[in-house]
């Protein structure tokens, strides 16, 4: 079914054949048969739709408190009602609404933080991988400093000191998660630098900036994209951890980590308060990771899976 969807979106890729298949065609074809990628894509799509449109569709808002309807169980447990499909929390707020709204938080933080990390890591990686020398030594030093820092602790400290807001959380998580971007970009840049087409570009008179942006960067974007998806997942979980510990997004904003923290005390009697947001986190991150793995398989010229 999804293969048909692919062939409708990219008709050219499926009608051409033989030597006229462009590399893009090959990518599209491989994507259309990769189960992991397709599953991740569909799942993520659904979650995004829920995040964007969900809170508008549900009859309650995440913030309306109704103390007469506290701790109602989800509809499939005895005592639940269809009015609050996923039950209510300790303040009588509708859980479904809170979870849907929480998806927005996770996605915004995830994408934002990963982007911050990407910009830092890719820039440093390109420079140190391509130029080497003292730049490489300096970046290595920065990298070791970053790795040695206990990230979570530092994030907690900074957020605590500056004050928890969405922007602060995004920036702090982003600034603490650029190392993987750096390492991957640097290794790739080093490899690419030795290839003949770089020397050819120098020979025809291209400037260093042109070479970096037009020859080196496009040829490592595939790997960077895979890391990006991974880091979005990492950032989402990092935000959830910070909120869980109380040094992230503050109440009443329903970050999933916060929901779990709030439900922790009712662990024994109302376990759904913890289980549901956790499942939401899992589904979101898993779908992103599956897409990331899929992208890696699809763009790897010598993929060792799916063959």
């Amino acid at each position: 079914m999804t293969t048909t969807a692919f062939s409708l979106l990219f008709p050219g890729s499926f009608s051409r054949s033989g030597a006229s298949l462009t590399p893009q065609d090959i990518l599209v074809r491989k994507a259309s048969t990769h189960t992991g990628f397709k599953t991740g894509l569909v799942l993520l799509g659904l979650l995004i739709v829920c995040a964007v449109f969900g809170p508008m569709v549900v009859s309650h808002t995440p913030f309306d408190q109704d103390l007469t309807k506290r701790l109602l169980p989800p509809v499939w447990v005895t005592g639940g009602t269809w009015d609050h499909v996923l039950g209510t929390d300790g303040n009588g707020r509708d859980y479904l609404a809170r979870i849907l709204y929480g998806a927005r938080i996770s996605l915004i933080v995830g994408l934002g933080a990963a982007s911050v990390g990407a910009v830092i890591g890719i820039t440093l990686g390109l420079l140190s991988g391509y130029f080497g020398g003292w730049i490489d030594h300096a970046v290595n030093y920065l990298l070791t400093c970053q790795l040695a820092l206990p990230g979570l602790l530092l994030a907690m400290t900074v957020v605590f000191l500056i004050g928890p807001s969405l922007v602060v959380v995004i920036c702090v998580i982003g600034v603490l998660h650029w190392t993987l971007f750096l390492v991957v970009t640097r290794t790739a840049a080093r490899k690419i630098r030795k290839l003949d087409y770089i020397a050819a570009a120098q020979a025809i008179g291209a400037s260093r900036r042109e070479i970096l942006l037009e020859d080196v960067l496009p040829n490592l974007l595939n790997q960077v994209l895979v890391i990006f998806t991974l880091e979005v997942g990492v950032a989402i979980l990092a935000e959830a951890s910070l909120s869980f510990l109380g040094v992230g997004i503050q109440p009443p904003t329903p970050s999933w980590g916060l929901l779990i923290a709030e439900g922790k005390d009712a662990l024994f009697f109302q376990p759904w308060l913890i289980i549901l947001p956790g499942i939401a986190l899992f589904l979101l991150v898993v779908s992103i990771n599956m897409m990331g793995d899929g992208i890696r398989d699809i763009t790897d010229p010598e993929s060792t899976t799916n063959d």
């Binding site: 040695a148 979570l152 602790l153 907690m156 991974l230 951890s241 109380g246």
Partner: protein, 306 residues
């Protein structure tokens, strides 16, 4: 060999000093220590008196040098929050976190290495797909949630393990599993890719042509090469456990360094926080150096020419 390590040692020392500076300045500039000690109701005069008494009116660089040089004398500062020397707090809780960290790495090794190897030896088989699913799932589960779920399942619904606490080694099993699970995906993948690359390498083909096969080929030749990067990563992961055990210790009510860090941050206890950040960094750097040493031992190419 020693030349190689001397360089790394110098970088590590430079990094350690840099991080101590970062930790100290960050904390002491953002928070007024006099205010914290005085408390919320104190008035300006009391705060001023405290500032004088403790020497907070001196320039920050001087205070940093004093703090840093004290460390070498074994004086790690005094906690504003617990009113105890920081050194004492650390020594109390270090064995707990160390045990947790080591046990969690054992968990990682026991799960990730066999799975990664099996996946590499039979690519695209059911075990390969299973290991990939395990990696993908483990990467997506928030570890605090996993901890809570484990408690619900294995301590409440089926009371096999204790719910919380750190009294016996048995108490550590569930937390180690939760802490170790987060390292499984990267180590497993590295093992898988590493072994896969090695098995496809020219020298393994040569070894096969000599008559080696099966288990012997794997253990005597392939693994020696495939484990090289894995060892480094395991050392780094172990290093991260020390700073990263906050959540696990929090969920399972374990009195380790992580929990100490959390409480110190929430209580604005500067001396403890800055010391802990520095200590965690040192631990990581030491483990990193150990990994480099191991690497040089295992890989003759790193030992320099003869």
């Amino acid at each position: 060999m020693f030349r190689f390590l001397a360089g790394r040692l110098m970088v590590a020392a430079a990094v350690a000093v840099t991080l101590s500076i970062v930790a100290f300045f960050l904390l002491n500039l953002a928070v007024d220590p006099a205010q914290t000690i005085a408390g919320e109701e104190a008035n300006a005069l009391e705060i001023e008196q405290i500032r004088e008494r403790y020497g907070f009116d001196r320039p920050i660089a001087v205070r940093y040098v004093e703090w840093f040089s004290n460390i070498f004398k074994g004086d790690f500062g005094e906690s504003y929050y617990w009113h105890k020397p920081v050194g004492e707090l650390v020594v109390e809780r270090l064995p707990v976190t160390a045990t947790l960290a080591l046990m969690s790495i054992c968990v990682t090794v026991l799960i990730a290495i066999p799975l990664g190897c099996a996946a590499a030896l039979k690519p695209n088989s059911w075990i390969d797909r299973l290991s990939l699913s395990v990696a993908v799932s483990a990467q997506a589960i928030p570890n605090f949630w996993l901890g809570l779920m484990m408690i619900i399942l294995l301590a409440v619904t089926f009371p096999i393990f204790p719910v919380s606490g750190d009294k016996s080694l048995y108490h550590f099993i569930l937390p180690s599993f939760v802490l170790g699970a987060s390292s499984v995906p990267p180590v497993m993948r590295l093992m898988r890719t590493g072994l896969l690359d090695v098995m496809n390498a020219d020298y393994i083909r040569t070894t096969r042509s000599k008559g080696f096969f099966g288990l012997r080929l794997l253990t005597a030749h392939a693994m020696r090469n495939a484990l090289l990067p894995v060892v480094s990563v395991l050392a780094v992961q172990l290093g991260h456990k020390f700073g990263g055990s906050v959540i696990t210790e929090s969920v399972f009510a374990i009195n380790g360094l992580g929990r100490l860090a959390l409480e110190s941050i929430l209580g604005a206890d500067i001396p403890t926080v800055q010391m802990l950040v520095f200590l965690f960094a040192l631990t990581f750097l030491a483990l990193n150096l150990l990994a480099d040493l191991l690497n040089a031992q295992l890989d003759p190419r790193l030992r320099g020419q003869s």
